[in-house]
């Protein structure tokens, strides 16, 4: 069975709204006020649920009238595209995890190696980019703009 996009979107939005309401239960109240920090999140959650129902209704209408074929085609993802997408996600997460440990130069070089390959460059280009770009970017941000980028494993050689 093909899970239609509208139903998936609607279900995700409802789940988000329920999580918001559930999270808002624990917010404290001041006795004198009939409303507190939970009021606005609950209004937003209500809006999300109504929007989700609208999207699901649209999906039902499109399914009945056979107008959803284009949407199904749009929603299809090739394995290669999915790999490239997930590859970039992994690189960003990896950078966040490795930056404090390995330092900027090494973490950025690893990201560049991976990203050049994902965007279709060969290993030579990836190597050149991984060596040169972190040095140039470090000079701009660290030396010129005074952003404190971590040195990590290169701390003994810091300049």
């Amino acid at each position: 069975m093909i899970l239609r996009r509208d139903f998936v979107v609607g279900a995700v939005l409802i789940a988000l709204a329920v999580a918001m309401i559930w999270g808002a239960q624990g917010f404290p109240r001041i006795r004198a006020m009939p409303y507190g920090p939970d009021l606005f999140p609950k209004i937003i959650a209500g809006g999300l649920i109504l929007s989700a129902l609208g999207i699901i209704l649209e999906g039902l209408r499109n399914m009945r009238s056979g107008q959803d074929q284009d949407e199904i085609a749009q929603g299809k993802v090739t394995p290669l595209a999915a790999m490239a997408f997930l590859g970039i996600v992994a690189l960003v997460a990896g950078f966040a995890l490795l930056l404090p440990v390995l330092g900027f130069h090494v973490a950025a070089a690893l990201v560049l190696l991976g990203a050049v390959r994902i965007f279709g460059g060969n290993w030579v280009l990836a190597g050149v980019m991984a060596i040169t770009a972190p040095v140039v970017l470090h000079y701009i941000f660290y030396s010129l703009m005074r952003v404190v980028l971590p040195w990590g494993v290169l701390a003994p050689y810091a300049w």
Partner: protein, 500 residues
């Protein structure tokens, strides 16, 4: 309006240099397919962090102005609009280029864009101080209704599906609830992370939504567009022919620039919507409507003038009410707020230098765009050959350092990732991003004013309509909601009847 003061500010070497550099940067980024004007501004923001507010505003204005024009370049040469604002007339500009006139087409578009931009800023400079006078007496009731009206407009113009537009808005508002609340100072949805107590930092959020989501989309597309064989005419004859073409159509430019400014001023309707409407109006009034979409320069002139005028128009609600007209002004408001300036009517009396800089930068950016835009058109074929395997990885690393530079913590990179994935999911779900951006920017303002009014009135909702201006704004908002409900109902029941 003190013209001498405006020119003294923008002719300051630091500001002029910033404008010149940013017009070059905007022209380059705008010309590259897949890199939008908003992305150019999002990537610029970490650098503006190290500038004073006046220089930062000049940088943002100059970058956007040229990026919107430069979007025409890859549209004309590759049939891939560099920014969504060039999509309306891409078929015409591409076909014209294929007939051996790429430079003539692009220079015609450049002249129309410059003229449109100048008309846009003239209207902006005239209208905003007048509107600011009006809005100076607003209380929390009016401020609440105004922000709600802005958000409702964004939903109205967002996209064809009303529920999706609303969902996008509520997602943005939900993101804005993260952090310490206004009523009792309780941290909401922070998962115990101290870094989230002040809310989601705006700059990593924008980098995630506009830069990372584009990178993810580009990675998934997995191909580089090729120029193929292109006949390019000599530069000077192209400029001469373009000037002739432009002079013939000056009435179109005035009409589309005026319309584009007004459309740009509507919250949520940016340069792309302005270009689509100007193109449609142009075809409606043209003597040769059948030629549109087959390589007709008239649509290019109208669309090009309208989208650049809309860039200036979008600053109208931003400056007067603190409500962004489009995604770029949303980022600009975020930048100004982080620098301790709150856009709104008082800015016209308290920060005249900033207001004058914005007006002056728009004017100078448009004038300098003749030079930098012309340079990029002349070098377009070389620029479009820059491999994406070089460009995209650099943008990826720049995005992440940019976010890190602002917060000094890896939480910024996690925010970039989370909101980049959220934006990608929304694009996949067919939701427009503009309402969500406005929700993130205005969420706090709406909630703060709503809670203050609720406390004042002890929960009596009729008090929201007690003051005259508040009643007018409230009624207007309710009318927009009614129109939205009608539109949703019409598209649901109307389509169902027609499909039988």
């Amino acid at each position: 309006m003190d013209l001498l003061a405006i020119f003294t500010i923008v002719l300051d070497p630091k500001i002029l240099g910033t404008i010149l550099l940013c017009t070059l940067y905007g022209a380059f980024v705008g010309a590259m397919p897949g890199l939008t004007a908003t992305m150019a501004v999002a990537l610029l923001v970490p650098f503006t962090w190290f500038m004073d507010p006046v220089q930062a505003a000049a940088a943002i204005v100059a970058t956007t102005t040229t990026a919107i024009f430069a979007g025409d370049i890859s549209g004309a040469l590759l049939k891939i609009p560099g920014t969504p604002a060039s999509a309306a007339y891409v078929e015409d500009s591409f076909r014209l280029s294929q007939t051996g006139k790429p430079r003539t087409t692009l220079f015609t578009s450049l002249f129309a864009s410059v003229c449109g931009g100048v008309i846009g800023v003239a209207i902006l400079a005239y209208a905003t101080p007048q509107l600011a006078q009006l809005s100076r007496s607003f209380s929390s009731d009016e401020a609440f209704w105004l922000a709600t009206l802005g958000l409702s407009c964004a939903v109205f113009v967002g996209g064809p599906s009303v529920p999706r537009n609303f969902a996008s808005l509520f997602i943005g508002l939900a993101v804005a609830t993260i952090g310490i609340d206004v009523a009792v100072g309780h941290p909401r949805y922070t998962f115990g992370l101290m870094e989230l107590y002040d809310g989601i930092n705006f700059i990593p959020a924008m980098i995630g939504i506009f830069a990372l989501s584009e990178l993810l989309r580009n990675a998934a597309l997995g191909r580089q567009a090729h120029l193929g064989k292109l006949v390019v005419e000599p530069l000077f004859s192209a400029i001469r022919d373009a000037w002739r073409e432009f002079r013939k159509r000056w009435k179109n430019v005035i009409r589309s620039a005026s319309g584009g400014t007004v459309i740009g001023a509507l919250p949520g309707a940016g340069a792309d919507v302005a270009a689509w409407i100007a193109y449609a109006v142009s075809r409606r009034f043209s003597k040769t409507p059948e030629a549109y979409g087959r390589g007709h320069v008239e649509g290019v002139v109208d669309g090009g003038a309208a989208n650049n005028a809309a860039v200036a128009g979008a600053w109208t609600p931003a400056l007067v009410f603190g409500i962004p007209g489009d995604s770029v002004t949303a980022i600009a408001i975020g930048v100004l707020m982080m620098k301790g300036l709150t856009p709104g009517p008082d800015i016209f009396t308290n920060d005249t230098v900033l207001v004058y800089t914005i007006f002056g930068s728009f004017f100078m950016a448009n004038v300098l765009m003749l030079l930098t835009g012309g340079l990029v058109v002349a070098l377009a074929t070389q620029i479009l050959r820059v491999p994406r395997a070089v460009l995209m990885p650099l943008i990826l690393v720049l995005s992440m350092i940019g976010g890190y530079a602002i917060t000094g913590s890896v939480i910024a990179i996690w925010i970039i990732l989370a909101l980049g994935l959220l934006a990608s999911g929304m694009i996949w779900a067919g939701m427009p991003l503009a309402p969500a951006i406005l929700g993130i920017v205005l969420g706090r303002i709406v909630e703060d004013n709503f809670m203050v009014s609720m406390m004042k009135s002890r929960g009596d909702l009729t008090e929201f309509f007690a003051r005259d201006t508040a009643a007018v704004l409230g009624t207007l908002t309710l009318l927009v909601w009614a129109a939205l409900l009608l539109r949703a109902g019409w598209s649901f029941f109307g389509n169902r009847t027609s499909s039988k």
